[in-house]
Amino acid sequence: MRRIGVDTGGTFTDCVLIDDEARTMAVAKVPSQPKHPDRAVLNGILKLLDETGLPASDIDAVYHGTTIATNAVIMDRYVRGGFIGTRGCRDVLEIGTQMRPDLYDLQQREKSAIIERDRRVEVPGRIAADGTEIEALDLDAAKEAAKRLVDDGVQAFAVGGLFSFVNNAHESAIAAMLREEFPDIYVAHSAQISPEPREYPRFATTAINATLAPLLDPYISNLENSLRDEGLSCPLYIMQSNGGTGTAARSVGEQAHQLVLSGPAAGVIGAIFAAEPMGMKNLVTLDVGGTSADIGIVVDSRPRVRHDMPLPNGIPLTLLNLEIETIGAGGGSIAWVDAGGALRVGPISAGADPGPVCFGKGGTEPTVTDAQVLLGRLNPQGLLGGDLSVDRGAAGEAFSNIAETLDLSVEKAALGVVAVMEADMAGAIRQCAARHGDDLRDFTLVAAGGAGALNAVALAKTLGIPRVLVPKRPGLLSATGLLAAKLRHDLSLPLIMFADEPDLAAIEAAQDDLEKRTLEVLETDGIPAERRRVEFALDLRYLGQEFAVTVPCEKGEAIEKVLERFHETHERVYGHSSVDDRAEIVAARIIGWGLFDAPRVETQEGDEVTAEPETREVWFDEAGGYVATPIYKRHALKPGTTISGPAIVEQLDTTTVLLPGYGAKIDASENMVISEESAA
């Protein structure tokens, strides 16, 4: 297999080509084009083909992680939508949870309702909690309203009714009518998009889907067409928020909103792929960029997932997504002293423009990157292999004000800024772990992104994490993660019954239905029979609880067994359980997997480090100031090599800081594993 992964980031679009037979990997980095992201994707692929000399027809698959949906959501940029609801539903989207976006701002602006009130209507029709119809649907009223909305320029319809996850008769009837009357307008209804209880998240997810799909679908189909025009007739897979991929055909329409967290998901999968050969199954992934840091947790080689996700504007999206915590701390985070005299780092970032002072692109505020340059950790001669020149003097000057205010030397001030950011990151990791009762001593910290490896060892030290893994190419973790991801398809059906009086026939019918639909999907997606896998689960909760726990199970497994596991899981996750309390079964779930071969690249055995490293003065607090520190080139460190801190390891896309007392070893896959014990 020859596969290409393309990950669109804010600044660069990263492309990798892995040839499983030749066991080689080729890499291309091209500037992103925020207005036309597909052009950058195509440029990157063509560059790869050009450099490897492979014909387009030799490529077996293209995998793509995109930020287009994320950006549309962040910018609040949707098509003009209309909402048709049944009785009582008109204002659900606008009232939301009734919680305030900002608790202390009395002069804040109204939050987005996604679809404004004049384009939201409700018509007679009501389903009760048990699924019975208590008011008949007035389909004529719905048709009248729809005509008016279309005249008003509506380009997409979202349809919502209470308890449609139990009985979707009303919603389906409205959707069918709309599709027949207005075949050119996209229609999504809530039981189809997100068949889960709680009207606001369900309707919000439906409205996001309806108003995103008409924007995203052309992007996906244009990309497919352009690839085809260039002779790439292979399948195109898109990364989904759930950490799996989907075919291009299944990344549009009712699935379009699944792309909202496409970008960060691939990085976590890449980390799992990098760590697995070494038997590291519990991971904390730390991806540090210019403005923010993403923290993910992986347990037993599975990323932790959640069923909902608040968008930056507070709108809840119900979809399976990786539990990734983002904090406003990155290389561009600005250091400042507040009116009380406290040193603070971020949340304001100099970003890429104007950027850190030392890049000389107009930045005037001292950033974390300036501090790292000043301390000699980032190469003061230049970054990106010399493509990016650096002005160390300017970085020093930028810190002079803060240093004076704090009555510290410039170096101590810079060191302090790094220390404060690292303390904030450590705190965020601790909180992520506390949420599930994880013991960090069982984890490996995986450094990802351009800046993760600068801080990883210090963080591991603070947090008591025994190992740090710096993958061979941390900056390409997302792009390689795309190639390592499996195809994934999630489906669920709501149920409602007591676990001690289970309706076995209903569970079986639900599981049969889910299995049949999932296998059909996998078949349509071109997954051969022997590569299809399904995993079942049931959602359970104690009576009176509102949120459920998803318990993996076998199809047709005895409910007593599942119930036992529910108590255990509840105990593990929440710290208590109660076998005496009644539990309810509230949903049946399935995951359909399409397995691909893991990408294979050449592994090597045992050379020792060849060239004598250069040295430069780097500040280490442990050493009491500047010390002549060996600077290793990562590509010169062959498998089997061990080095001791203090040291700096430089490579094109990242810089690793190895603290005194720590040692690093390059393993067979050219990953660098750092720990305290291995220091010679």
Partner: protein, 560 residues
């Protein structure tokens, strides 16, 4: 002197510890009030009981533990406080908020010396007393408000005081969830002590002590600097509660504020006497309202510590509705606290333009229903709080349908209500014509209709039904519409509800309409396109456009 880098790094660790305690508390709590509604708070204190770091989940709990620890220390001499102890308290007459908020405090020792405290509070669904859920508008004294713990040891040198657990178990309505939540609080407190021990081991007790002191000083300096940036001056505002919870006269809240240099004096002199019923604000609750205004007006992105309060002098007349004498009832203190907050913002806005806005809905329309689960027939208690409109302000219209000021609680989803309780919600919509008009109008209130499908014992209450005390307009803007609760019986008869406890039957309905925010600025100055948009969106009716803005709808610009 300690350097600012060390202060910031230790400060970040304090913040993380407080966050970690919160995650641990929430993760193992039993009741939705903690797990889904986030009604809890965790903090770190100096040995003397000054807050050093606290999480920020619900504004009502901001700095709410600052008055508790000094009381604890008053009653428990130092030699009796030992490592491994955990104290329990909830007495509003010993610096706590109201009885359902159970506070736990654990001392942190280094070399045999008390060097810090960690603590947390969590709102318990019930702690006994007259009413289910403990809170009651008509409670005549705190003796109707359940168990009161005078900072006794729940754990003594690491050993649980089992008789106390059994005593609690025997006196609350839902012992499983109360004890479960209490154990979650204990786990969080123990985690906090472990983290503090580790920090002390790393940095030493004296550095930790200096970092605490400096953090407190930093927040004091931030608030002082922001106050000093406002011109000196005096202003005054008056607000009213509809009644005293027992059908009495409106209750006056009067607040004078004076800015002098970098200090503020908040004087409640003129506030009415303590109420017969349960809506009195304990002094801690009054202070929470003051903290909200201070943070919103003077230190929105800074962390609050005991130092944030130092530039502020509060004068709380004893025996008044904001500092009642023992044993006045205080369980529904949030109703008075919201009104205090509203009145204080009105006064402070004269001096600080960041707070310049019209009045918000502070009526807190709520219900709690004891009923039976529709499928299992087990007893359950449903509760729901409805928000309303925020006031219009200098930069735009007020937010619609939000839990305002000190609250930030989610609305009960219609589907969850009908699945879990014998109560069907027919509609939840924006209350048309409820917003006060102005150049910038207030936000709209909520209209929600509950249909009872079975017998339920329901406590209803709301404030701001009296038009005189509706969300006020400002700078020429008009007031928002007051709240209204109507009980429509199955036989067609109706009754207006303000604060009632009623046994409702299947077929009865409650129609709850909350208040809209006040308008800001002259309605005549409102952008015509904005009026047209409100009309097109059905947020205002054509009649109301004519009546309030004096404009014929036909004269408004068409949508373009």
């Amino acid at each position: 002197m300690i350097d600012q880098v060390t202060v910031a790094v230790i400060g970040s660790a304090f913040r993380a510890t407080v966050g970690e305690m919160g995650e641990a508390l929430r993760r193992s709590s039993h009741s939705p009030i903690i797990r889904e509604m986030f009604d809890y708070s965790c903090a770190i204190f100096t040995a003397e009981g000054d807050t050093v770091a606290q999480d920020d989940v619900i504004p009502a709990l901001l700095n709410s533990m600052v008055m508790a620890l000094p009381e604890l220390l008053k009653e428990n001499p130092l030699p009796t406080i030992k490592p491994g102890d955990i104290f329990i308290g909830n007495d509003p007459y010993r610096g706590c908020t109201h009885t359902p908020d159970i506070h736990l405090f654990a001392p942190v020792f280094a070399d045999g010396k008390l060097v810090a405290w960690v603590g947390n509070l969590a709102h318990h669904a019930d702690i006994g007393g007259t009413n289910p859920g403990t809170e009651g508008f008509a409670n005549r004294s705190v003796f109707e408000e359940g168990l009161r713990f005078p900072y006794v040891k729940l754990f003594e040198e690491g050993k649980a005081c089992e008789p106390l657990f059994r005593y609690i178990e025997n006196n609350v309505r839902d012992p499983r969830s109360s004890l479960g939540d209490l154990r979650a609080q204990v786990a969080a407190a123990k985690l906090g002590v472990r983290r503090m021990d580790a920090l002390i081991e790393k940095y030493g007790a004296s550095v930790i002590g200096s970092a605490m002191t400096e953090r407190i000083d930093q927040s004091e300096r931030r608030v002082r600097a922001a106050i000093a940036a406002c011109p000196d001056g005096k202003s005054n505002a008056v607000g009213y509660l509809d009644d005293d919870g027992c059908g009495g006269e409106p209750v006056r809240i009067e607040i004078s504020v004076e800015i002098k240099g970098d200090e503020i004096v908040v004087d409640f002199t003129g506030t009415g006497p303590q109420m017969e019923g349960g809506m009195n604000a304990s002094s801690t609750a009054a202070m929470a309202a003051v903290m909200f205004a201070v943070k919103a007006g003077f230190d929105a992105d800074g962390e609050q510590t005991a130092g944030s309060l130092r530039p502020i002098t509060m004068i709380l007349p004893e025996g008044s509705a904001v500092n009642p004498r023992f044993p006045a009832a205080v369980s529904l203190r949030h109703l008075a606290a919201q009104r205090v907050c509203d009145t204080l913002i009105r006064a402070l806005a004269e001096i600080n333009p960041k707070l310049e806005s019209a009045g918000a809905f502070v009526g807190f329309s709520s219900m709690a229903a004891e009923c039976r689960h529709p499928r299992s027939n087990l007893p359950v208690v449903m509760s729901d709080d409805l928000g309303g409109g925020l006031g219009g302000h200098t930069g735009g219209d007020g937010l619609s349908a939000v839990d305002t000021y000190l609250g930030n609680v989610g609305i009960l989803p219609m589907e969850i209500c009908e699945l879990q309780y014998p109560i069907r919600i027919g509609t939840t919509e924006l209350a048309v014509d409820s917003a006060g008009v102005g150049e910038y109008r207030g936000g709209l209130g909520i209209r929600r209709v509950y249909e009872f499908l079975d017998t339920c014992d329901v406590v209803f209450y709301t404030e701001q039904t009296n038009p005189e005390f509706a969300p006020w307009g400002k700078a020429g803007g008009r007031p928002g519409r007051p709240a209204k609760l109507i009980l429509e019986r199955a036989d067609g008869s109706t009754m207006d509800i303000h604060k009632n406890r009623v046994l409702v039957q299947a077929g009865d309905k409650l129609i709850a309409v909350t208040g809209g925010g006040g308008g800001y600025g002259d309605p005549k100055a409102r952008d015509k396109a904005a009026i047209a948009r409100d009309l097109r969106e059905g947020k205002i009716t054509a009649e109301a456009v004519k009546e309030t803005y004096g404009i014929e709808p036909a004269e408004l610009p068409q949508a373009g």
